[in-house]
């Protein structure tokens, strides 16, 4: 009998899909009983939907939990996990998940495996797969047997979501003590500027990444986009260098897009970036590294130097359009 626990992520006040992926992963990892923990303010309404999938739903509903705070969550959950002693505590590998998981592991004396894309076995020790070197290598990692249990974060989208099996789980409203998480206080939420162009509505996107090397080189991308009637977007490194505004950034820390055609130029294709490309786009990748992860998800690829390929592409498109 193994009991596992899933920390449910809320996105925009709704249950994030990752909760159901974690549920399924917990069952596959030998969880005879899988409990959901949901934290927030006015979240009791989610219990019913979760009870369809989970054997037990623990609801922590309190004004202190209105905005997710890893410090507050750790202060609340460490004693709760000690008391209920699940073998595995599973969290999504999201910014919130990583705000909380390391503190849980240290304070509970548990081992921590992060950003898993597969769990191969979970008896006393855990064998799992994660990516390293920007997705260019996969690693089989092992957490040694630990009486106190393990904490795992799982990459969203890498595990199949559980269909609601009518688990008919119990729902328990849990007590939230006052004065949690001293030392960190919420100030405000900020939405970045919308920017001049809305990449989320574009049908054709030409996205550029680290491979562009210099800001001045963006000219060839602008020029290609113009002849295609496409919109220019980018991956994170280009925004980090202030070559394009944040409103052009695709990815889990940027915007989600759903173009018909997506041309990735000099983008390696990390999961954080590709996580923002939705809706079955036709993906074209141009990259000088034949092992770039982008070629694993693209429909068609060219291995070559973008500074050679892009001008030829612009010229041929111009000819083809007559």
């Amino acid at each position: 009998m193994a009991n596992h626990m899933v920390i449910v992520e809320l996105a925009g006040g709704e249950i994030d899909d990752s909760a159901f992926e974690l549920a399924q992963a917990a069952r596959a990892a030998g969880g005879d009983s899988v409990a959901a923990v949901v934290l927030g303010k006015d979240v009791a309404g989610h219990a019913e939907a979760l009870a369809d999938t989970f054997d037990a739903v623990h609801v922590f509903d309190d004004a202190q939990l209105e905005v997710f705070d890893g410090e507050v969550a750790a202060a609340l959950l460490v004693p709760f996990i000690e008391r209920t002693a699940p073998a595995l505590v599973l969290l999504p590998h999201t910014n919130n998940g990583m705000d909380l998981a390391p503190a849980l592991a240290v304070k509970l004396g548990r081992s921590l495996l992060t950003d898993l894309i597969a769990i191969e076995s979970a008896e006393n020790e855990i064998t799992a797969v994660r990516t390293m070197y920007g997705g260019k290598a996969h690693a089989r990692v092992k957490a040694k047997p630990n009486d106190k249990g393990h904490v795992l974060t799982l990459r969203p989208g890498s595990f199949t979501a559980a269909e609601s099996p009518g688990a008919g789980g119990s729902v328990q409203a849990e007590v939230v003590p006052a004065g949690l998480g001293a030392g960190r206080r919420y100030v405000e939420s900020v939405t970045p500027d919308a920017g001049d162009v809305d990449i989320t509505q574009a049908e054709i996107l030409v996205a550029v990444g680290r491979g562009i090397e210099e800001k001045e080189n963006l000219e060839i991308i602008d020029s290609l986009a113009e002849v295609l009637g496409a919109t220019v977007a980018c991956s994170r490194p280009v925004v980090d260098k202030n070559w394009l505004p944040k409103s052009r950034q695709i990815g889990t820390s940027g915007l989600s897009v759903k173009p018909k055609i997506y041309i990735a130029v000099g983008i390696s294709g990390s999961f954080q970036h590709m996580g923002g490309v939705k809706g079955g786009a036709y993906i074209i990748a141009i990259n000088k590294d034949p092992a770039a992860p982008i070629f694993g998800v693209a429909d068609v690829g060219i291995v070559g130097d973008l500074f050679d390929i892009v001008p030829i592409l612009e010229e041929k498109i111009d000819e083809a359009k007559g």
């Binding site: 920007g134 405000e188 900020v190 939405t191 295609l228 490194p237 694993g296």
Partner: protein, 262 residues
Amino acid sequence: MDIIVCVKRVPDTAELEVEIDRSGTGIEERDLAYGINEWDNFAIEAALALKEEHGGKVTAVTIGGEDDEEVLRRALAMGADEALHLMDSAFDGSDAQGIATILHKAISARPFDLVLTGAVSSDRSSGQVGGMLAAMLGIPQVVLATDLKIENGKAVVAHEVEGGLERVVELDLPAMVSVQTGLNEPRYVSIRGIRKVSSMEIPVQGAGDLGLDAVAVGEAGAMVTVEELFLPPKGEGAEMLEGDDEEMVEQLVAKLREQGGL
């Protein structure tokens, strides 16, 4: 204000093909250029900017062998006041908890108001060390900082949340902040700058100096081990176009036409 910045030297694989080495648990390191972890470089810049505004001292810390000293020299050249090199064969094979344990011992022995590090390293990318270190030090923390200020004796930090949003939080000091790339523009380090700090002494400490039980860290203390590294399965993947540049582009234009892109 005393600021400690934890930095790591990593191979630059951003634009390169990775090969698995003969041990099967690492990558082939020949021909790789090494440098400071990109996230950590932003952390150093953040520390220096705070020092310039509020005064104080910046200390760069790394764990590693002889070669890893170069990232400390680089931090000194950028303007860090001191460096600390934690080096001991007993540290080899440490997992993230081991790394955090070593840093904890070293940092808790000195005064500090703020500990900064990169949110993740580009090589092993576990993203665990900052959060673990904060939990061990018993100080508030935040991950993926995109802005960092000190106001009225508190750290005011914007950090990324999913979906392109940011949250601003206030942390009591001392605090731990793990930074995201892009929160500033790290200053340039010239060869001359590095040469100027080449004679600065960098203290080295091992497990004994830190009062660390050698079996608590390194391979012996690791709860998590890397069993094997392998190249990602190819899967279906892209249809790779062949020929010279012109030929590949012609095929691509045909694809674009099929997809209604012209």
